[in-house]
Amino acid sequence: MPGEIRLEELTKRFLDVVAVDGIDIDMPAGEFFTMLGPSGCGKTTTLRMIAGFERPTSGRIMLDGTDVAEVPPHKRNVNTVFQSYALFPHLDVAGNVAFGLKYQRCTKEERRQRVAEALDLVRLSGFEQRKSSQLSGGQQQRVALARALVLRPRVLLLDEPLGALDARLRKGLQVELKALQAELGITFVFVTHDQEEALTMSDRVAVMNGGRVEQAGSPREVYEEPQTEFVADFLGVSNLLSGQAVATEPGACALKIGDRVLRAARGDTSAAGDAKAMIRPERIAVEPHGVDGENRIPGLVERAVFLGNSFELHVRILGGDVLKAMVPNDGSPAMVEEGAAVTLYLPADGLRVLAPSAAANVPAAAEDVPAAAS
């Protein structure tokens, strides 16, 4: 199946700013691939290089085995859905969708039929004569999709296409986009800073930071097995604990945090010395005060944030750190009161020792990259 993209040591420098720093990414044909990261992480620049709007400083962009890095955008068999859609305001919907067909060999009748098909695909039949200013945001987005898909590209690039829509519409379109991709079998390369979007839609996610790929894998992999502090922090809420690895056993290690020793059975369990561990708030069990046993830490509820279906408790544990824990809103009020004494159970298989990062991979490190490189 065509549509495979391989980026090899791809680098883009803007004057003295390195926006994309020698990344290697495999995007298998027919997959929904997402580049996720904060603004300035280089994801949009990478997408623009694949589209051909930016010329790589060095590296290769292999599209089905051919390096297209020096091919101008109008000769690449990839199409883009822009963040702001970029619908031509002087053309109606049909004119927009038919725009690119002029450059493909097809008869007038064929052209008309393909426009109708594309509009049908995005459920906009009957809107042919509308101007883009007469469409809602969601409809404009679908015209932009139809305009790109009508050309039957091998790869569809989407640059934060849902960013400008309100939350409800966004949820609907997430499902629709994913279904469309599955139906067409085209490779989708999707750029977003929204971790939830990335997790729900993608077959594969590359988490980017500071022009580099921090981690790539399936949504479950990057969420459940983050390899770096940055990935752990960027994907969802996570608790970070600093301590010392005091002993290792096969498949687990003992972490000394404050005056407690916790067993951690995930991640880099062979660590020694200063180590960091993370645990997702939903993996922490909140138990009544006084329960004792392995991997339990007493603490005080500092804040209880009501989220509707659950509470997010901020619990200050012995030793000073604040951990976040999720408690379902199932009618056990005692523990969700601020000031309540509780015991936190941090199961060993939810506690993940992080590999020490070579660089300080905190989101703030990417702030000096200009907005154009986001």
């Binding site: 101008p72 955008p73 109008h74 199409n79 970029a86 031509f88 725009f99 690119g100």
Partner: protein, 284 residues
């Protein structure tokens, strides 16, 4: 009375008063000049009743006096030539300057704006010397007048079109390229249609500037056939003025106002609210 003027919650009435006074001050002389174009007599100061004899009358009117007729025709001819040359040239320059990011781009930008701030008399003298000494083949006359007007009006085209270019951005061109359009098609199928309102507005401004221009056109004029309306107004104002002068001035003013109103409306209609600032600048 005091509270009517000094009311912190009310409208700024002092400002309103000053504004109204200024508008009256600037409009009244023009209104009087227009009024006497319709005077039923030879006086330009004493009202003798309403008539249109200075526009369409059998003798000495705009319609039948050969000198007035010639001036009006030459003015319009120059304006059309000037629009036909300055508009495409200015659009090309605007596109080039916008895309040019190399060294020297800033300097060229400044140079492009120089004609907007250079005193016209300086430009007039300079162009006269140029056509007499450097390019004697051109000399003075209609071609020199046209070139002179293009020289300073092209800057206005550049400024107006660049404003629109900035607000349009590169995205539409990128979208066109993405859909397979080669550079020529990106320009013709996408960019030029998007720039159309600015181009039309710029053309109208050039037209109005050309009709109103006196200094450069005067300096570069040759024989009597190259006299324009402003030149005629200047030269005959001291000789034997009749209300026909007011009439031809009224015609010129009318053409200018109509052109600018047209430009403004086109711009508003097609460019939407985003370029309101540019549109407002056009009103001046």
């Amino acid at each position: 009375m005091r509270s009517w003027f000094v009311n912190p919650w009310g409208r700024p009435r002092w400002l309103l008063l000053v504004t109204v006074l200024y508008i009256l001050w600037s409009i009244v002389p023009v209104a009087i000049a227009i009024m006497f174009a319709f005077n039923n007599g030879r006086s330009r100061t004493t009202w003798q009743g309403f008539s249109t004899r200075w526009f369409t009358g059998a003798t000495g009117s705009v319609l039948h006096d050969p000198a007035l007729q010639g001036a009006l025709k030459h003015t319009l001819f120059l304006a059309v030539i000037c629009v036909a040359i300055a508009t495409p040239l200015g659009v090309a320059l605007a596109l080039g300057l916008q895309r040019w990011r190399g060294p020297g781009a800033g300097t060229v930008n400044t140079v492009m704006l120089l004609p907007l701030v250079t005193p016209e008399i300086v430009m007039g003298v300079a162009l006269l010397l140029l056509f007499l000494k450097v390019f004697p083949g051109i000399g003075v006359g209609t071609p020199a007048q046209a070139i002179g007007q293009v020289t300073f009006t092209v800057s206005y085209v550049v400024v107006i079109v660049r404003g629109r270019l900035v607000s349009v951005g590169r995205e539409y061109e990128e979208a066109a390229a993405d859909l397979g359009a080669p550079p020529h098609d990106q320009l013709v199928r996408v960019l030029l249609p998007l720039l159309a309102p600015a181009i039309i507005a710029a053309a109208a401004v050039v037209f109005a500037l050309s009709i109103d221009d006196f200094v450069v056109t005067q300096y570069l004029s040759g024989d009597a056939s190259t006299v324009t309306v402003p030149m005629l107004l200047y030269s005959t104002a001291r000789a034997a003025p009749t209300p026909a002068l007011n009439a031809i001035a009224t015609v010129a003013l009318g053409i200018t106002l109509l052109t600018l109103a047209f430009a403004y409306l086109v711009y508003r209609r097609f460019a939407g609210g985003r370029e309101a600032a540019v549109a407002a600048a056009l009103e001046v």
